[in-house]
Structures are given as structure tokens and as C-alpha cells.
Amino acid sequence: MYKLSAKQQFIECAKLGKILARKCKNCAELHLATVYFCQKCGHKEFENVELEGKGTVVTYTIITVPPAGFEKYTPYAWVVVQLGSNLRISGFMANIAKPADLPIGSKAKIVDFDERGIILEKQ
């Protein structure tokens, strides 16, 4: 049966501060819900798992020359966060102007999803 992408469901979860993950029914590997086949074993059956969208900052950048549409937010950070599991998630973070504002290892959480994709905040 034809199934629509899980992206909309993923977005609805992100708006609630959660990550919709897919756990492989064969090998238990976790993936983001936008994946259709397991990267580890190739299996295609998953169970949905909702993870807390919280973790620690792995790396980031502070953007001062933005793409179109982001002028009004500049400077802002684009951040990669390690979730409590083996998953990482990246997204937009407002109000970061200098590296001292966001040391590596800082705690961060997902707070929303809008036209800027996943919205993160420092905790």
C-alpha cells in the first residue's frame, strides 16, 4: 500500500520538542524517521520511537554571511547536537553571537520546527 513520507509526522513531533526515530525491527539500530531502509542491516520494518529532543552540542558555526531569508536572524548558529542515543540532530539556534555564547558540550534542546527547520535552544 502506498504510504506518505513520515516527514510530516517528524515535523509534528519536533514542534513538541521530540524526535521521531525509527528502530529497526531486525537489528534495533535507530534512525531518523525520514529513513526507509536500515543503514546497518538493510531491513525495512521499523517501530516508531519518540526520543526527547535534548542533548549536548557536538559542534556548530555562527553564520554572519547568511543565505537568502536569514538576514533578519544574523548572526545565528547552526548546531549539531548529540542526542542521548546514538543519533545526532542539527538545526537553527537564534541569539548566538560569539563562541563564548555556546561552548562545545553545552546542553541544547529542540523547541520548535518552522520555516527555518528544526529550532534548537540552549538550555
Binding site: V58, I62, P66, V80, P99
Partner: protein, 384 residues
């Protein structure tokens, strides 16, 4: 498998060009054909790499090129793989000649974007990322590589000044290249004092947006011997992939596709990284050259900055990296870059590199990837 050779190469200058995308594509193609000393009718097929033809009102470039060469009846393929388009296209051409489908083919790469301005070029380029997670969230390409740089500077004993040294070295080389986009020498202070684009990367850590076209003629060895003594052999070809988004990688300071492609290319060539005399690597940002030269096996993980500090990667150092000036100084017309690297290797190994000649070079390597290394191709060449 047929042995594959490069018998001709040509390139426009890289920079801000006035001519149209189709004009520069044809111009580089004609240069390559003349350099090979062949007639267009001897070409069996064309491979044309380009990313943003839509920005200059011309996609489906293949037939336009073939028609202008008087061989409209010959097949062509237009290929896109972000900044890695040129090398991916080269690989498809290589595979078809090696497989015996064609005796001789044209490979041309081109880009024409500077007329769209910095904001829109930055925006278009961000479409090459895994857009849902990266471009959409405001990650520019400098931003993605800046994230890689911050991770590297945190994990290893390296500083922003070390990264700046890569830019200084590549500008020294590009200064000797008449076709380079940014043909001027710079200092570490110039880099450190340039405007921050995406911290920790500054303007002079970034390659420029460039227009330009490059072309080569690939053929089997029988065809090569019938036409010229001035040819080089392709002895290794490898390709690989990485998770499209940086968040999908466990280590952000290494690019998986480079390692996979390099291993395959070294294996086919039957050589080790230490056998390479010079390499044209994908230095879209200073951090990229550091990561590349480790992933390609030239230096241990975390040791490439030390090598740069000691001058090992300078022209005629232990291993000359980016003798052309690299993407940083020679320029980065993204659809052309991978082909342009082969042009440099051809010029180096056939004695046409002038002042920037790598002395006694026999083996050259090209490394070119798309986006943050989501797609990659590595090729190894040997003089005859």
C-alpha cells in the same frame, strides 16, 4: 578492461567571466580537442558536468556542446553531483572507455554563477546540502565546513592560524598559475583579519565563487598511441559516498567517501599514498584540505596541520598539494572543478605547468567531492 589515457586538456581562465555558460563550455572543449590533436568526429560521446545551468538559462548542455562541435549526432550526458560533478563525470567517461563502449570521449565541466551575486550563490549552493536538516535551517556551505573546522580545532592541536597557512600556501601556488581566479599572494595576517563568514572560518579561508570551464579527452591506449606521444595514463579510479547530512556521521573531522574512494583508487593503481608525487585535493575551505590530506592517507589523523606548518605540502615539498592553487586560489567553478584538476595533472605530467612544475613528478592524484563529501571521486594518473 581497456587501459584509459588522457590525451588532451583545455581550460578557460577561472574567475568572473562575461561569456555565456554555453560559450565557455564550447571554448574549453575546443581547447581540449586541439590539445589532443584530434578531429571532433573522432569523439564517440560527450560527458558534460554542471550544477547551476538554470542560473544562466541553459541546462541540457550536452547536445549544445556537441552541436557546436559539428557532431550533433553523437550521444552526450549532462551530469550533476554538486561540487564533485566534474570528477564524477570523469569517472563515468573512464568506465565507458575502460569497458570498451567508446574509443575516445570528451569530458567537459562548467559553471557560471558569479552574475547572481553572493547572496543568491550562497543560497543556490545550500541546495546541495541535505536541505531538510541543513540548508533549510540556515546552514550555508561555509557554515557546514566551519562546523567541521570547530570540531577539528577542538579535537586536535590546531589553531585558526594553522588553517590560514593552507590559504597562504595555495595562493603562493595560484600566483604562478595564469588561469587562477585569485592570483595574488596573501599573508597569515590577511587571512586572520578578513571578515568572518561563518566562525571560525573567515573570508580568506573560503574559496571564491568562480565561473569557468575545463575539458579533457579520454581514450583507450590504442587510440592514444595512434594520435600522440603526449599522453598520461589513468591508473586508478575510485568512488564513495557519505551520509548526506553531517549529523549522520559519527566523526565530523573525517569524510567517509574520501576514504572509500581513495582505497579503491589506490587498490586499482597498485600504489600507496607515499607513491603519490602531487595531489589536487578538494580545498573548498582551508579545513577541507587538512581533512582531505589525512583521509587520502598522506598524513596520520590530526597530523596534517603539523605537515603544513613544516612546509611539507608546499610546491616541491614532501608532497606538493594543490600546485595549481587549488579551489582556494585557482577558483571553484563547481561543475568544472573536478575536470580542472585533471587538466592540472595533465599539464604537470606533460611538462606544461611552467613555473609551478612539480619536479620529477610521475604520479598525480585528483580528489574532488560534492557538498560536505556526500559524493566523492579519486583518480590516480601516471606519466608514460
Amino acid at each position: 578492461m581497456e587501459k584509459v589515457c588522457v590525451i588532451g586538456a583545455g581550460s578557460t581562465k577561472y574567475g568572473k567571466l562575461q561569456e555565456s555558460i554555453s560559450d565557455i563550455t564550447v571554448q574549453a572543449s575546443v581547447d581540449a580537442i586541439e590539445s589532443a590533436g584530434i578531429e571532433p568526429k573522432e569523439i564517440d560521446a560527450g560527458y558534460i558536468s554542471n550544477v547551476f545551468g538554470v542560473a544562466d538559462k541553459q541546462v541540457h548542455l550536452g547536445p549544445v556542446v556537441m552541436s557546436n562541435l559539428g557532431i550533433s549526432e553523437k550521444p552526450s550526458l549532462s551530469i550533476e553531483s554538486a561540487c564533485g560533478s566534474g570528477s564524477v563525470s570523469f569517472r563515468e567517461a573512464f568506465a565507458n572507455v575502460a569497458g570498451g563502449f567508446y574509443d575516445a570521449v570528451l569530458v567537459t565541466g562548467v559553471e557560471k554563477v558569479t552574475h547572481t551575486g553572493t547572496e543568491w550563490t550562497t543560497t543556490y549552493f545550500s541546495y546541495c546540502s541535505d536541505f531538510f536538516y541543513e540548508g533549510q535551517a540556515g546552514a550555508s556551505f561555509p557554515g557546514l565546513f566551519a562546523s567541521m573546522a570547530r570540531a577539528y580545532l577542538t579535537e586536535f592541536k590546531a589553531t585558526e592560524e594553522d588553517l590560514a597557512m593552507v590559504a597562504v600556501k595555495n595562493h603562493d601556488n595560484g600566483f604562478l598559475n595564469p588561469k587562477a581566479h585569485l592570483r595574488k599572494k596573501i599573508t597569515i595576517d590577511d587571512v586572520m583579519n578578513s571578515a568572518v563568514v561563518a566562525s571560525p572560518l573567515k573570508l580568506y579561508d573560503c574559496c571564491p565563487f568562480s565561473d569557468g570551464a575545463s575539458a579533457v579527452i579520454l581514450c583507450n591506449e590504442k587510440f592514444a598511441k595512434q594520435h600522440t606521444k603526449n599522453y598520461i595514463r589513468v591508473i586508478g579510479s575510485g568512488r564513495g559516498g557519505s551520509p548526506a547530512a553531517l549529523q549522520g556521521r559519527n566523526h565530523i573531522t573525517t569524510i567517509p567517501s574520501t576514504k572509500i574512494a581513495a582505497e579503491a583508487a589506490y587498490k586499482m593503481a597498485g600504489i600507496k599514498p607515499k607513491d603519490v608525487d602531487f595531489a589536487e585535493v578538494h580545498d573548498c575551505f582551508t579545513i577541507a584540505e587538512i581533512v582531505d590530506s589525512e583521509d587520502l592517507g598522506f598524513f596520520e589523523k590530526g597530523k596534517a596541520v603539523e605537515a603544513v606548518r613544516e612546509g611539507k605540502t608546499r610546491l616541491n615539498g614532501e608532497i606538493s598539494i594543490n600546485p595549481s592553487g587549488g579551489l582556494k586560489s585557482k577558483g571553484h567553478p563547481i561543475g568544472a572543478t573536478g575536470v580542472g584538476q585533471v587538466v592540472e595533472v595533465f599539464d604537470q605530467l606533460t611538462g606544461k605547468a611552467g613555473e609551478r612544475t612539480v619536479k620529477d613528478a610521475k604520479v598525480g592524484l585528483t580528489h574532488n567531492f560534492g557538498a560536505t563529501g556526500a559524493s566523492c571521486a579519486v583518480h590516480i594518473f601516471q606519466s608514460v
